[in-house]
Structures are given as structure tokens and as C-alpha cells.
């Protein structure tokens, strides 16, 4: 299959099917994240890449038989390895024995947040989540440093909107109407993460999707006038600073790194405050990194257009 566009669409449908599978397994938070990130942002970013790279794959001169053979052998070895694992969902599997019952039993008493996924993600395994946010941030830094924008073309294109976008009046009006509810919904998902599915990652992705809709329809220059690239870079660093800052504040107040119990007079209130601030940091970083990556990809496409006019 040489048509990369069909590959991107199939990847989107695959993400959607995986999200439905997670829903069937009753893992609502994971399904939420998979649907929003996999079927939404990934497809949009890959389409933006295809605009730069070209739609069809170049003809390879060798047949990749060796690669296929390696993949088949490794895959079959992995499947053979899983035959030894305990039966799916059995009660005496090791994963259900040691850590999980402790989290499930003590989460309400120690943390007081109804959504156990959020309490595990932000409090019990807060250190891992800090690492995940650092990975997202590093990806953003990588894109910013690789796709550099020169100052001269930036000044030329300050007010231009491509002509074909000015004719899309209906789309622009509807997008303008839908943008506030989308952003408010993102904020709702962010702060409702304690009680239902949600949390920082999903909220950041939905926020970024709304801004990407606006930028696609109104032109890159309008989008960049609202979200200046300098501000976006600052915000992505600010999110991580907030997260790690909460950890350091816990250190200064006498507990361990990221031990939220010492933040307030009462351990449960301390946990609430800690989880709130930490999820806010996650949401800010994810949203600004996604918007930055999209702006950089679109800038490269648009730059060719402006140079040829």
C-alpha cells in the first residue's frame, strides 16, 4: 500500500477500534485518552506531516523480506511467551495480588477522590506521571529546535490569509460558535477528573483540538496572533515547573518529594490540593506542546506557499 493518506486513515480507525475495546473492558479513562489522542490529534498531526512530505511512498528497490522474517519470528516468540501467563482476569494472577488491592482498598480513605485512576496516576504513581510529562515536553522541544522559523519570512506573512480560506464563510461562523463550548468542555474534563473520566492529558488534548480547528479555518497568522509562539513555549515549561514545584514544596514543608500529605493541615486535603495542581500542570503542558507542534508543521507548509506568491 503506497498511499500514505489511506495508511493515516486506517491508523485513525485502528485507534478508534482500540478505544472501543477498552470501553468493552470497562476501562473508561484509557478509552477516553485513546479516542482523543489516537483518533484525533495523531491523525491531524500526521496529515500535517503528509502535507510536507508528499502523499505517496517512494518505490523501494529491494524487497523487505528479511525485515518481514524478523517481525514474524519475534511476534511468534512473544505469543509463545504469553501462553505461560495466568489466565485473563483470574483472581490469583500476581498483578492482582500485591499492589492493586492496596490501592483499591485504601484509596478512598487516604486520598478521598472517587476516581481511582486519577488517584493512582497523580498521587500513588506521581513520579511516573512526572516522567511522562517530561517526555511530552522533550518532544515539543525537539520539534521547536528542528523546525526553525527564520525572521524574514515571519515578517512578510504577518497579515496574509490564503484566498481559498476566505470563501469558507459557513465553516468559519460555525467554528467561531463552537469554539467556546469546546474550550469550556476541556476545562470541565480537566477539573472533573476527580469524579469521572478525565484528567490532565485528555483535557489538554481537547483544548489543543479546539485551537487547531480555529487555526485550520482562519489561517495560521490569526492563530498565532492569539497564541504567540513565545507564550506557548513559556506555558509548556510552566506546566512542568508547576508539577515539579509542587514536589519541591512538599520537600520544603518537611515531607518526601511529591508527598502531598504535608501540603495542608489535614492529609486528605493535602492530597486534594496536590492532585489539583499536578493535573493542572499536566493539562497546561500537553495543550501548549500540541499547539506548538501543529503550528510548526503548518508553518513549514505555509512558508512554501508564501514564498511562491
Amino acid at each position: 500500500m503506497k498511499d500514505l493518506f489511506a495508511v493515516v486513515m486506517l491508523t485513525g480507525i485502528y485507534s478508534l477500534l482500540t478505544a472501543s475495546l477498552f470501553l468493552d473492558l470497562d476501562a473508561v479513562d484509557v478509552a477516553f485518552t485513546e479516542a482523543s489522542v489516537g483518533a484525533g490529534i495523531s491523525t491531524l498531526l500526521m496529515l500535517a506531516t503528509l502535507k510536507l512530505v508528499g502523499r505517496f511512498e517512494r518505490h523501494t528497490r529491494y524487497k523487505p523480506a528479511l525485515a518481514l522474517g524478523v517481525v514474524l519470528v519475534t511476534g511468534s516468540l512473544l505469543v509463545y511467551g504469553t501462553l505461560d501467563m495466568p489466565h485473563f482476569g483470574s483472581a490469583d494472577a500476581p498483578v492482582h495480588q500485591h499492589v492493586a488491592p492496596r490501592y483499591l482498598n485504601d484509596s478512598m480513605a487516604e486520598i478521598g477522590v472517587p476516581n481511582v485512576v486519577t488517584s493512582v496516576l497523580a498521587s500513588y504513581r506521581g513520579y511516573d506521571t512526572l516522567g511522562e510529562i517530561l517526555v511530552v515536553f522533550t518532544a515539543g522541544i525537539g520539534v521547536i529546535s528542528l523546525l526553525r522559523v527564520s525572521r524574514r519570512t515571519k515578517k512578510d506573512s504577518r497579515k496574509k490569509v490564503p484566498v481559498d480560506m476566505q470563501q469558507q464563510i459557513i465553516l468559519r461562523i460555525v467554528a467561531k460558535m463552537m469554539l467556546p463550548p469546546i474550550l469550556i468542555f476541556a476545562l470541565y474534563v480537566q477539573f472533573h477528573g476527580d469524579y469521572g473520566p478525565g484528567g490532565g492529558f485528555q483535557a489538554g488534548v481537547i483544548f489543543a483540538a479546539g485551537i487547531i480547528l480555529y487555526t485550520m479555518l482562519f489561517g495560521l497568522s490569526s492563530g498565532q496572533r492569539v497564541f504567540k509562539p513565545v507564550v506557548l513555549e513559556l506555558l509548556s515549561a510552566l506546566g512542568i515547573l508547576l508539577y515539579a514545584g509542587v514536589g519541591v514544596a512538599c520537600l520544603l514543608l518537611g515531607g518526601n518529594f511529591l508527598e502531598y500529605n504535608v501540603l495542608r493541615h489535614d492529609p486528605v486535603h493535602g492530597q486534594h490540593l496536590g492532585i489539583l495542581l499536578v493535573e493542572l500542570g499536566v493539562g497546561i503542558t500537553v495543550a501548549s506542546v500540541m499547539i506548538t507542534i501543529f503550528f510548526k508543521f503548518t508553518w513549514r507548509t505555509v512558508k512554501h506557499k508564501y514564498k511562491n506568491e
Binding site: 498511499d3 486513515m9 470501553l23 477516553f32 502535507k51 468542555f185 487547531i212 485550520m216
Partner: protein, 90 residues
């Protein structure tokens, strides 16, 4: 009652997938995928009532959004790419 709706929605999704596979031009495929996405939102809504957990509606809203933004994104992509959109793909 819900079971009838779920079965109908699954049949509709299968027909949309068939059109996505068959459709001669590109726009048929985009239309079929958009239809598939809308039916998925409805399916999530109805299954949420079947299972009795009201949490799934957030996912339905998110997926309705994502579907819309993806279709707009794909159409933008083809406006910029231009000429090879009306090629007959078999």
C-alpha cells in the same frame, strides 16, 4: 428496546464500512468515515444506557468533536493538495 437500536446501528456501521471500501472517489470514503463516526457516537450513547454507567457520555461528546475536526482537517489537506483528489481509485 436498546438491543434493537444497537443491532440497527451495527448494521449501519457495516454498510458505511462497505461504502468506505468500495467508493470510487475519495470523497465517498470521507463521507463514509464521517457517517461511521456519527454512528459510533450514537452507539456509545446507547451502550452507556445499556450498561447503566453515565460516565460514557463524556467520551461520546469527545468523539463527536474529534470526528468533526478530523473531517475538516482531511478536507483542508485535500484543498491544499489539489489536483490528485479526483483521481479514480479502484
Amino acid at each position: 428496546m436498546f438491543a434493537l437500536t444497537v443491532i440497527t446501528l451495527l448494521i449501519v456501521m457495516a454498510l458505511a464500512l462497505a461504502r468506505a471500501y468500495l467508493g470510487p472517489t475519495l470523497y465517498d470514503r470521507i463521507l463514509a468515515v464521517n457517517n461511521f463516526g456519527t454512528k459510533t457516537v450514537l452507539l456509545i450513547g446507547v451502550m452507556d444506557f445499556l450498561a447503566g454507567r453515565p460516565d460514557f457520555l463524556d467520551i461520546a461528546i469527545t468523539y463527536a468533536l474529534i470526528n468533526f475536526i478530523s473531517v475538516i482537517g482531511v478536507l483542508r489537506f485535500f484543498e491544499y493538495a489539489g489536483r490528485n483528489a479526483t483521481d479514480r481509485e479502484g
